[in-house]
């Protein structure tokens, strides 16, 4: 039988292994309550507050020029960051999963770095790096290249925060798929690029898509790092999350929630797509063999 390549095996639920029905009911109830308090209510709140003054005001808040500018900037950032990080993720996963070399564990741990670094610190390091106190920063200043308080800074800070997502998805996937198919391909005479594009890429497409979706969601929603780097200049260096903050701090709650609802909507789409992909993968794995 071909080697099992599934990472997550989900058995059919309902294998409840004889937990007493009363116990089950209580536990499920507790879970639902928890979800209600921490997830459903916040979700509902966003839309309730955003629509509080009526649907007209809701749309106005979104169509407002500064809001639109924020949307544009956010999308632009994502459009740059996600492909770059996807290429990195695929490259790193290829190097790590198909070869053996010393220092591999260290390399893999480095990929987890952004999770251990507070977003504020992520923003800070780029402010410091590009600020006038370092040689690099002064070089930038001399050449009139602005990073902080402008779009490039936002892009780079977002790159930092989101770069592991694709790699972390692909590495376990590619490791579990092994090297056999690639080795077979080279014995048959395929060159490097052919091996990758014909054999490897199709095998990882779902994992890649999933990683890119996570990366997109995160880069759209990143707040702390961008907050530090951007300077909050409305219309110029405001992303959607920053705009939400500004509106809120001006007590313009309705508008704030209205704009926030865009993000909520995007988050829900992300979550739904992810569930769909997992479902697809699950179906694929239980194919008749």
């Amino acid at each position: 039988m071909q080697k099992n390549t599934s990472r997550k095996i989900k058995p059919q639920p309902g294998h409840n292994r004889n937990d007493h029905p009363a116990v089950q009911a209580i536990l499920v109830l507790l879970t639902v309550l928890f979800f209600a308090a921490f997830i459903f209510m916040p979700l509902g709140l966003v839309f309730a507050e955003g629509l509080r003054k009526g649907i007209e005001i809701y749309f106005e808040a979104i169509r407002e020029p500064y809001a639109l500018a924020a949307v544009k900037l956010t999308l632009l950032t994502a459009a740059i960051v996600v492909p770059l990080n996807a290429v990195f993720g695929v490259t790193a996963a290829w190097a790590i999963s198909k070869f053996s070399f010393r220092g591999k564990t260290l390399l893999v741990s480095l990929l987890d770095l952004p999770f251990a670094v507070s977003p504020v610190i992520a923003g800070l390091i780029f402010v410091l790096l590009a600020g006038s106190r370092t040689s690099f920063g002064s070089w930038l200043g001399e050449h009139g290249i602005k990073i902080i308080f402008s779009t490039p800074g936002i892009v780079i800070a977002t790159l930092f925060v989101t770069f592991p997502f694709v790699a972390r998805e692909l590495i376990p996937l590619m490791e579990s798929q092994g090297r056999d198919e690639e080795e077979a391909a080279i014995t048959l005479g395929a060159r490097g690029w052919q091996v990758f594009s014909i054999i490897t890429l199709p095998n990882i497409r779902w994992g890649l898509m999933y990683g890119m979706i996570l990366c997109t969601a995160r880069s759209i929603g990143e707040f702390g790092a961008v907050s530090v780097v951007s300077g909050h200049i409305r219309g110029m260096t405001n992303t959607i999350p920053l705009h939400v903050e500004i509106l809120y701090s001006e007590y313009n709650y309705t508008a704030s929630f209205a704009v926030a609802s865009i993000l909520v909507f995007l988050a829900l789409v992300t979550v739904a797509v992810k569930a769909l992909i997992e479902h697809r993968v699950h179906i694929h794995q239980s194919n008749p063999s």
Binding site: M1, Q2, K3, D180, E181, E183, A184, A185, I186, T187, L188, G189, A190, R191, Q194, I198, I199, P202, N203, N287, P288, S289
Partner: protein
């Protein structure tokens, strides 16, 4: 294509996988690399294919030193233990792969590729599955597709890494016979790796027995089976009973008991060693047939099919002796547990020197 392996060595951090191995393979031969797990046979195969690199030594394919050639350029067909079919491509695309990735200069036309793939699939009896995907095929079917895929590029050498070990016993047997027939038709130089001595004995023109990175013996199957070079080979190629024995005055003594042997031991002096005999070489009868016969009692009977296994307890040996007799004999003698019988050990083989099973 002939293969010449010269002084190949491969070392890992704390052990030596291949220790100065040299081997030649004639064009058109089907040879088996046989040995226990971890003996280095798969490593050697992968080095020949270019999927691993040797630390020392060279691999020469048809007079050309290919030691440092990348796998891509070696024109060697490789069949993996777990098939390694491209799961996203269907059977046709799998088999056609090697032809499709050729540089545009040497790539055959679409119709030529189609013809070749269909021909090969017919050869391996998988033409009906041409549009199926690997996940829709059984293990044996996948392995046949893998074979067709490897043959598609007209390799000069075919290398098979334990090709049937992942399959059910019955399928394994069928495919064995089928592979032998295929080889008789195509005559590609082939090397296959196995740890199953039955498989090696049945399939190969020549068997190379490998242990701990060294070649213990090589030769035709009958040769290796009937005239094993040492205790390891003997033990690996079938079941054995092992006794501690002595050679004295040209006779073999197990304990105090003299037994017969095929060897001519005149003038061998006094030596200690180990004596082996295979279960089916032991004679069982109800009456004493020779002066060296051993009396014993049947402790257990195993009805295994065509052969019947007996466990015999004797005085003088603390281990039980395993014997095998044909079913007819068992029926004729009407043997049952607890019966006293006489055991004839006249084909004992002795190896002096250190060996432990």
């Amino acid at each position: 294509m002939s293969i010449e392996i010269k002084n190949v060595t491969k070392r890992y951090a704390n052990y030596t996988a291949l220790d100065d191995i040299s081997l030649s393979v004639e064009t058109g031969e089907l040879i088996a690399l046989l040995g226990p797990s971890g003996c280095g046979k798969t490593t050697l195969l992968r080095i020949i294919a270019g999927l691993d690199t040797a630390d020392d030594g060279s691999v020469i394919l048809e007079e050309k030193d290919t030691t440092n050639l990348p796998a891509r350029e070696k024109n060697v067909g490789f069949v993996f233990q777990h098939y390694a079919l491209f799961r996203r491509l269907n059977v046709f695309e799998n088999v056609a792969f090697g032809l499709k990735v050729r540089p545009s200069g040497s790539r055959p036309s679409k119709s030529e590729i189609r013809d070749r793939v269909e021909h090969l699939l017919k050869l391996v009896q998988m033409d009906w599955a041409i549009s199926r995907y690997p996940s829709q095929l059984s293990g044996g079917q996948r392995q046949r597709v893998a074979l067709a895929r490897a043959l598609a590029v007209n390799p000069k050498v075919l290398l098979l890494d334990e090709p049937f070990s992942a399959l059910d016993a019955k399928v394994r047997q069928e495919l064995r016979r089928w592979l032998r027939k295929l080889h008789d038709d195509i005559h590609v130089t082939s090397i296959f790796v196995t740890h199953d001595q039955e498989e090696a004995l049945e399939l190969a023109d020549r068997i190379v027995v490998i242990n701990k990175g060294k070649i213990e013996q090589q030769g035709a199957p009958q040769e290796v089976y009937d005239h094993p070079a040492n205790a390891f080979v003997y033990n690996f190629l079938g079941n054995v009973n092992m006794f501690h024995g002595r050679i004295r005055d040209g006779k073999v003594l197990l304990g105090n008991h003299q037994v017969g042997t095929r060897h001519n031991l005149e003038g061998d002096g006094d030596k200690d060693g180990q004596a082996f005999i295979r279960p089916h070489e032991i004679g069982i009868s109800r009456i004493r047939s020779g002066e060296n016969d051993l009396p014993g009692i049947i402790r257990d009977i195993r009805l295994m099919g065509g052969q019947i296994g007996l466990e015999l307890e004797t005085q003088g040996f603390d281990k039980l002796i395993e014997a095998e007799i044909p079913r007819e004999t068992w029926r004729n003698l009407q043997l049952s547990k607890g019966d006293p019988v006489f055991i004839t050990l006249d084909r004992v083989r002795v190896f002096t020197g250190d060996y432990s099973i």
